[in-house]
Amino acid sequence: MSKKKSEYLINRRDNQYEVVIGLEVHAQVLSESKLFSTSATKFGAEPNTQVSLVDAAFPGMLPVINEFCVKQAIKTGIGLKAKINNRSVFDRKNYFYADLPQGYQISQFKDPIVGEGKVILDMPDGQKEVGIERLHLEQDAGKSIHDLDPQNTFVDLNRSGVALMEIVSKPDLRSPDEVSAYIKKLRSIMRYLGTCDGNMQEGSLRADVNVSVRAKGAKKFGTRCEIKNVNSIKFMQMAIEYEANRQVDLIEEGKSIDQETRLFDTKKNETRSMRSKEDAHDYRYFPDPDLLPLEVSDEFINKLKNDIPELPDDKKKRFIDEFKLSPYEATILVSDIDIAKYFEEVVAKMGKNKDMKLAVNWITGELFAVLNHKNLEISQSPVSAKNLAILVNLIKNGTISGKIAKTVFEIMVDEDKDPQKIVEEKGLKQQSDPKALEALIDKIINDNREKAIEYKQGKEKLFGFFVGQAMKASGGKANPQLINEILKRKL
């Protein structure tokens, strides 16, 4: 393989090391109620207010599975182009912890609901395929709060029993950038499908990161360490960077790497061993006797397949083919379902005579800048897709200039008003009446006779001066193209 521009290597003396990364992403299933109980899943509720007798593991309570969560997992599997298993089994993973009321987590161990699949990443130097090992359904645990009391730990079980999808990648990732692209792509696919909101701040998406290093070109994997429960892309990248360098240093010092679970300390920006906890871990998986094997027919799966919306990869291809966008533009516009939705609405509202390039530029330029500045998601955009479409059309049909459009846009950001109305109310309509403009230009030439003569003598730079004067005289509303034409003729 030829060396790629973006190849991520760690250098020590003359040695180069490659980093091998695999991710176990925990994605919270978007559902009203929990995986095995009928409690609500809303984020941010008062502690222990969304806890049923089942979630708190009262004696004699039994799990009953939520059909919608099963469908969500299958849909996600379809989105990952993965094999959906007709039969899967729920197992108990046994361990004690304050926020694990049953003393076991119901998960899927040997027979997951979704098997092998893949995800395509758009990297700067081309596409990269990342293999998916499996996806399985499991329960989330509650939350232990250690800092409210010096002697005690407080336990909130609101999250206990919420459905999670654990998506396990193959060890196909090679750099922090690829990890970032992978998470973003997964998030994007799930948001298109409506199976996970991907909100990392609320913990809807978090990952265990497996990192190992090996000499560049080596075939054999190095010993890996698992960094538990990292909840932002930035932290994942920092953790990988730290961990990979730590492992390389150990190798360089001739020491061995222990396969272990580590924790990323976001304050100190380092990973550290959790081995003390690991000693006791022997999860004693066995099939949960309270549940039977989950069986889904091909018919059930096919019905879900028919409901799958256009996903980012297909949408991108269509944007390129249908709207003649560049791959770069298309990638940006499909990266998030809400951006794609916005863009498509703009396209629809622009009608027949549309300027696609102009629309793309306005969305990725002016609009993104405003959203960024105001820290808003596109779904919260102060400018509606419809009004942006009208604005683009006003530019396209010459009603206003690009420059005036920016003024109009500023007003639109403050009050989401029809730009047509803004133009009319503020009298910003472009002057495109050739006679009026001719009169205006005649006056300017008359007022600046000396400069006109200099121009004719060859000082061509002065053309800009006349354009500026004309624009100024028109209050910026003159049609710049007409001004150019008339000036060229008259001078």
């Binding site: 007798l53 004696p59 004699g60 046994n94």
Partner: protein, 485 residues
């Protein structure tokens, strides 16, 4: 008054319906006898005041269309009862008051029955003699210092001692049928999935079934009819057509083929058990049924299989008793210290032993050799029954390899205690229905039971066979009321 407690459920129901007796009279009678019977130690929690209130309320506006109109009854303390302490016979749940009701007891109250109290049982239903209960031994009304069997020992003792007209137990490896056999009563373990497990403190989820215990087969059929419902709150509950077991009860078993499995003639089985079995064969023949010798070749592997599967599931089911959410908590320096002390002080020796066995057989490196192996053998055991049922309609065996034994006799030898369940355990492993009916006495006059095992969902058939045999056997329990001064 003492007359009342001698009546069977069917008689009581009839007398209440005919207004010959009021619920208050019946309830008062059973409370009075229970009060005089503390020596039996059958109750863990008495709920007499509230029972009387409910009886009075019932009498004010009696609904006589119900199946158990104003009938008082006590239940095994493994069923969660709303507002009434539920301990599972354990210190770890010593102070636990559920805010919910098990489906099985809910079904019973819906038909008009009234809770008298909660009955003693082996801790978490782990035992065959009721000696593992945190709340002490239970006396068998048959004779002083004899065990009533287990784990539904309190239920069997209260029923035989006429402290309750009917009761319910749970059966994981024989916990209804063995105590029924030891006390001269009738006990049915229904098909797995027949009675909801919702709200029953779990021991081994793939084996546990609730079931009725009664003085006679007819009462047993009526109670089964009440408690067996399909329940969406239990994922292993099965939606099959349930009979009106009492209405459809018939002693006509002509032409039925009854299998006699040779493997149940185990080494060292007392002659009186064998004789009883032969007597049973005679009886079914007299009823017009045909007996056929069959083979259940893997019978001797059932107990070892059971002692892997049940503890494995129990070790996980009992992980929730950790002192965090409810029940007993020991003081600990930190979380782990608290866990270890709570579970060490809160669980009794037998429960700890089984948790240890279960943890071991599931642990890394041993899973395949034990747990997986046991599941495979379980399959072979089920296959045995499937094969047999191609030839026969039901199977007749002894219920237990012995009659009731003395308190303390087997407590130091777990394996000999486990052997008590040798005839009942295969039925749980295969998920089949089985009923124990009293069939005779040993030389000391202690009752002995016979077990009829049915096809899955074929409760009606084994109830009918039991009903027909009951007529022939005409069993009379020899209870002297020795504990009432």
């Amino acid at each position: 008054m003492s007359d009342i407690t001698r009546q069977s459920l069917s008689e009581l129901v009839e007398n209440i319906k005919n207004k010959k007796l009021s619920s208050t009279e019946v309830t008062t009678a059973f409370i009075a006898r229970s009060e005089k019977s503390k020596v039996l130690n059958a109750y863990i929690t008495e709920d007499f005041t509230s029972a009387l209130d409910k009886a009075k309320k019932f009498d004010q506006k009696p609904n006589l269309d119900l199946k158990l109109p104003g009938i008082p009854m006590a239940v095994k303390d493994l069923f969660c009862t709303k507002g009434v302490k539920t301990t599972a016979g354990s210190k770890i749940l010593n102070n636990f008051i559920p805010t919910y009701e098990s489906t099985v007891t809910e079904n019973i109250w819906k038909e008009g029955a009234i809770l008298l109290g909660k009955l003693n049982c082996d801790e978490f239903a782990m035992g065959s003699s009721n000696e593992t209960s945190f709340f002490g031994n239970v006396q068998n009304p048959i004779d002083k210092d004899f065990v009533p069997g287990g784990s539904s020992g309190g239920s069997a003792s209260a029923l035989a001692g006429q402290l309750t007209p009917i009761t319910i137990g749970t059966d994981t490896g024989g916990s209804i049928r063995q105590p029924a056999s030891f006390t001269g009563t009738v006990g049915l373990k229904p098909t797995y999935g027949s009675c909801s497990r919702y709200g029953i403190v779990a021991f081994a989820s793939s084996l546990d079934q609730a079931g009725p215990m009664a003085q006679n087969v007819k009462d047993c059929a009526l109670l089964q009819e009440v408690i067996s419902t399909y329940d969406t709150k239990d994922s292993t509950s099965i939606d099959f057509k349930r009979n009106h077991y009492s209405k459809e009860l018939s002693n006509n078993i002509k032409g039925k083929k009854i299998g006699i499995p040779k493997e149940y003639r185990v080494d060292g089985m007392p002659k009186e058990i064998d004789d009883l079995w032969q007597k049973g064969v005679q009886f079914v023949k007299e009823c017009g049924a045909e007996t056929i010798d069959i083979s259940l070749p893997h019978t001797s592997y059932a107990l070892p299989t059971y002692y892997i599967v049940a503890p494995a599931e129990a070790s996980s089911n009992l992980a929730r008793y950790d002192g965090v959410k409810y029940g007993f908590r020991a003081k600990g320096d930190n979380l782990i210290d608290m866990y270890e002390k709570t579970r060490s002080e809160g669980f009794g020796a037998e429960v700890q032993r089984r948790i240890m066995i279960g943890t071991y057989v599931l642990s890394s490196g041993y899973y395949d050799a034990y747990y997986l192996k046991a599941q495979k053998v379980r399959k072979l055991i089920k296959n045995d029954f499937d094969e047999a049922y191609k030839k026969v309609d039901a199977i007749l065996t002894p219920s237990t390899p012995s009659s009731a034994f003395k308190i303390g006799e087997k407590t130091n030898d777990p394996v000999s205690m486990y052997l008590n369940d040798i005839f009942t355990v295969p039925v749980n492993l295969a998920g089949l229905p089985g009923i124990s009916i009293p069939a005779g006495h040993d030389s000391r006059g202690y009752p002995l039971g016979l077990q009829i095992i049915g096809k899955a969902f074929d409760e009606q058939n084994i109830l009918n066979i039991a009903f027909a045999m009951e007529e022939k056997i005409n069993f009379k329990n020899k209870i002297t009321d020795w504990w009432i001064k």
